[in-house]
Amino acid sequence: MDFLNITDWSLLALNSPGWGGALLWGAVKTVQIALGGYIIGQIIGVCGAMGKVYGPPWLKELLAIYTTLIRAVPELILILILFYAGTAALNTLAAKIGMGPIDVNGALAGVLVISTVQGAYSTEVIRAAIQSIPSGCHEAAAAYGMSKWTTFKRVTLPLLVPRALPGMSNLWVIATKETALLSVVGFSELALVAKQAAGSTKYYMTFFLAACAIYLTITLISRVFFNQVEARFSRGMVKHK
């Protein structure tokens, strides 16, 4: 075996028996799951934050229980519990409405798990953003006689988005990295493909480095994207250094 064990780059060739194509396909899976989980997670986050700020006390407390529980348990363990319990629950639910067993593929279970976790963090990020809006803005809007909806559209939202974006872009990076945990339940995404490739060829360093490089690329591209979005939405905001 080669001394440094990282020199055989032909293993990364795109076509089988090279594993490059498989790695890229794994990366696509990773982005898909992360994106699905992220979008649903953000929807949960928006609803959750609304409930936490404007909702009745019982809802606030319920949401507090949700965010606290989810954020206090290690992601790996949550993923394992939700992966099995979630599938079982989904099947029971499907049986109740007479659909027969659902073919819960790994992708669905993955999205479900990531979005549940993301939702909890997102709720907190967006809640903090809403609460950081000076109350004077709302009072001014009320003084102008704006309706609740107009206030939300014209005042709250434009002030909210730039405040929430840094946290949300951070959550996206977390989502992409969290998908790696799905490899533990055998879902074939980037991390698992890298592990399989490494195990089959014994070139552990090569494939783990390659996978890290792909993850890093995803993160860097996302960062450029989020910076653009942030710049777009923070026009007219005072820049703090």
Binding site: W19, A22, T87, I102
Partner: protein, 256 residues
Amino acid sequence: MKKTALTLALAFGLAAPALAQDLKIGIDSAPYPPMSWQEADGSFHGFEVELAMAVCAAAALNCTHEGVAWNGIIPALETNKIDMIVSSMTITPKRQEVVEFSDPYVSSNAIYIGHKDFVFDPNDPEIIKNTRLAVQTGTSHEDYLTRKFDGQVDLKIYQAQDEQLADLVAGRIDVVLSGRMGSLAFLSSEEGKDFKALAMVEDETYPPLKIGAAFRKGDANIAKFNEGLKTVLQNGTYDEIANKYFDFDVYGMPKP
């Protein structure tokens, strides 16, 4: 919260009602040559993969393979993620409490693998104490070692066969207890040339292994699978596949 996710996921078409006759064969996603491994293009290969497909064909079952993490393979079966396990799973009384096995399709032994110069005797407590012993998690071997050496030795527990073999080559562990079938590819490979089977398990509490396909309890497909297995054994398909991978009798039982 979860319901929102469910509705949305359904709407996005991530979940589809399962086709009744499609059977998903769960298989360890980590390589376990020559029994099973996954190529870079995602396809499954190996003796068990080919055999399972032949049995399915003989039993007129529609089967596909699905990679699952070994340490969650039984929960995956219980929660309907897969419909059967054909992944070198030894038939043990404990497993039979939660799953139902088909007739065995392979006989194997548990062997201790180590460097050819390493002095090892599983029945010598002095040697055992100074041996770094490794085993794959969730296997009957792990079960046996914890039973036999409880408190005497710190076992190193690995997630996959390839990882413990890599660490064996690296010298981080001295001896691995593993199934004979799943070790053949390593022992005959270039990196495994300095390693050999140091000892075989000879213990009445751990008889030679019978490997079968695991199903959920009461699954009607077990009978079909057994029928199919019988057919491939009788019509020579079994030997044809086995001869591609082994030069000895892997069935190890009188043929039906």
